[in-house]
Symmetry: C2
Subunit: 363 residues, 2 copies
């Protein structure tokens, strides 16, 4: 089937671009002796997770316990949940999952670690733990201060937990080369301070996990990282192009849409709004329109209603009702999360359709 026979809106996955993105990141990590544990929240697809493992990833990262369950059902065997697990219902599911795959949790409090340890002990399973430190993003993570050390030592002493080192998340490092250099230098100061604290207390920090897509190919410049967890790199998006971390030719996911109305002057309305693309603007705050229209760099997707995309046409420009357009979303993670499946394409040929199996796994 040709893509133009698809009903729209539809997610198109260019499998050659995907493969290239996966291979490049795997090669980079191999070259720099970094473990690659891709964050699968971007694609939410076990098929792509398996492709990542086949190309050398050591395991996968997920954000949700429900995503981990789907991935384990699909045969993924080494899963990191980069999220504190809280609540009775989740703890029961967690220890059940730990009985059937190598499971690790990133957490940032003794309280959460105690709950997991108790549940794991009762179930007779082992759960890996990584302690997250905050290097400045101010989301999760213990502060890098001496008062955090006793918490880490107490976590290490808990039964049925497997120590798996340190985790950090430094947010999005982007912008011009000078500001990236400055941001990495700042991050290294934080990491050095953290390592000094841990070393003084005799805490094993031979494993340090960090990273995301914008600065992924500079991960070797961060001090003593042993693992990175980029997600977006698999598909890339306009944010990553804007951040200088990808080109539009790397973007493996686009949204096929149809022009449905041109009745209002200087506008073309497409059948992709915020319920199709997500309303995320660009991370950088720059050029606040809502996606890149492939082949029409001069046209602007000016506004989104829930089911309408508003394209601003310049003077003398026309689009016809029925015309098909491909949009590269600003933020591919939140876009994919709105859909149940993606169509796998080789050029304009539709070769397969993959369910986005982790979508909707909110708990």
């Amino acid at each position: 089937m040709n893509i133009y026979d698809l009903d729209t809106p539809a997610l198109l996955l260019d499998v050659a671009r995907l493969d290239n993105n996966l291979q490049q990141m795997a090669a980079y990590c191999k070259r720099h002796k970094l473990d690659l544990r891709p964050h699968t929240k971007t694609h939410k697809s076990p098929v792509i997770a398996h492709m990542q493992i086949e190309r050398g990833a050591c395991g996968i990262t997920v954000a949700k316990l429900g995503e981990a369950e789907v991935m384990a059902d699909a045969g993924l065997t080494d899963i990191l949940i980069q999220y504190p697990i809280v609540g009775e219902a989740k703890l029961r599911r967690l220890v059940s999952l730990a009985a059937r795959c190598r499971l690790t949790i990133a957490l940032d409090s003794l309280l959460v670690a105690k709950w997991i340890s108790q549940a794991a002990t009762e179930a007779g399973v082992e759960v890996g733990v990584r302690v997250e430190f905050d290097t400045g993003f101010r989301r999760c993570g213990l502060p890098i201060v001496p008062e955090s050390i006793p918490q880490v030592q107490a976590i290490q002493a808990l039964p049925h937990l497997r120590w798996d080192g340190i985790s950090v998340y430094y947010g999005h490092i982007m912008g011009d080369p000078d500001s990236r250099i400055a941001a990495i230098a700042h991050e290294n100061e934080q990491l050095d301070a953290l390592y000094a604290l841990l070393a003084a207390a005799g805490i094993d920090h031979s494993k340090v996990s960090g990273g995301n897509t914008p600065a992924a190919l500079q991960s070797h410049e961060f001090h003593s990282l042993t693992e990175i967890r980029p997600g977006t790199y698999a598909l890339q998006d306009r944010d990553m192009v804007d951040a200088g971390a990808a080109s539009f030719a790397d973007c493996a996911l686009s949204v096929l849409t149809t022009v449905v109305s041109t009745s209002v002057a200087n506008r073309a309305i497409i059948d992709a709004g915020s319920k199709t693309l997500s309303a995320d603007g660009l991370l950088s705050g720059a050029k606040m329109h809502f996606g890149y229209i492939v082949g029409f760099p001069d046209l602007r997707l000016e506004d989104l209603s829930e089911e309408h995309g508003h394209i601003l046409l310049g003077e003398g420009r026309e689009l016809s009702v029925g015309h098909r357009l491909r949009i590269i979303p600003n933020h591919v993670c939140t876009c994919v999360n709105l859909h149940d499946r993606m169509f796998v394409v080789d050029g304009e040929e539709v070769v397969d359709s993959w369910r986005i199996e982790c979508r909707g796994k909110v708990v």
Copy 2:
């Protein structure tokens, strides 16, 4: 089951508030002899659509053909698709659907009407059509100019289409009373000009559909409206409170969340981010935080990551890991669209769980 036994994040639907919202709007419409055709894109639930019909709605509105199919499967019999239907695949589905319910399409071009007429003729079915005019929102709709009239007449002459009058969408009318009065006056100027054009051409405009939630209870002030299509009123949200169209006590949908991290100073992180609440800011642009924390009007949901909500704690304020909070989303339509089900609650008692059956029906 008590709501505090639910795993989070979870959508909670207060059924008493829902019922009250539905009854009030139905009573208003009855009082003013307006047909009520609720837009079901807000809740995407056939159960709620049936409640709306039982309370006096004349039929329902949907945005997507896929939503219409789900609603028809669930026994809804009078469905308006407020969206131009374009493309071969959709036309085949459209005429199949028209064979099993009373189906009407709002459209704004002769081209789309011709495609539908041809498909309906071949299938031997009848499809209702409404012609949309643009009164200033600049999305869909023919311009209110004499040149539009021949298009309308040509649409009326097409076979197998049932003329169902005129449709307008005037966007969100909100703000202080003076600006609302001015906006309604402006809208009435547009409507009067439209009616004059249609009357001069002898075009039947005895049916005029408009409206949405912010100005729904002022619909009788718009000239000659015979039907309104509000959606959000069923659940209400922070946008409607901000617009003066509801109070927080009317908001029937909230998101139950859990505090998962308090390690960073002056922050509490909850398990509801943009993949749970949607990243929509407020329509008015005011107070750009991401939801209202029930019972904590002084706390701000300052930022959203995909799976983290960042609550800013004032000096001396504390929240504990494990603490449950209820969030009223800024925009309930895009929030509900992220979930597969909602838990129906009576106070703190969970009495049922309803699938959000139209979610994901993107085509």
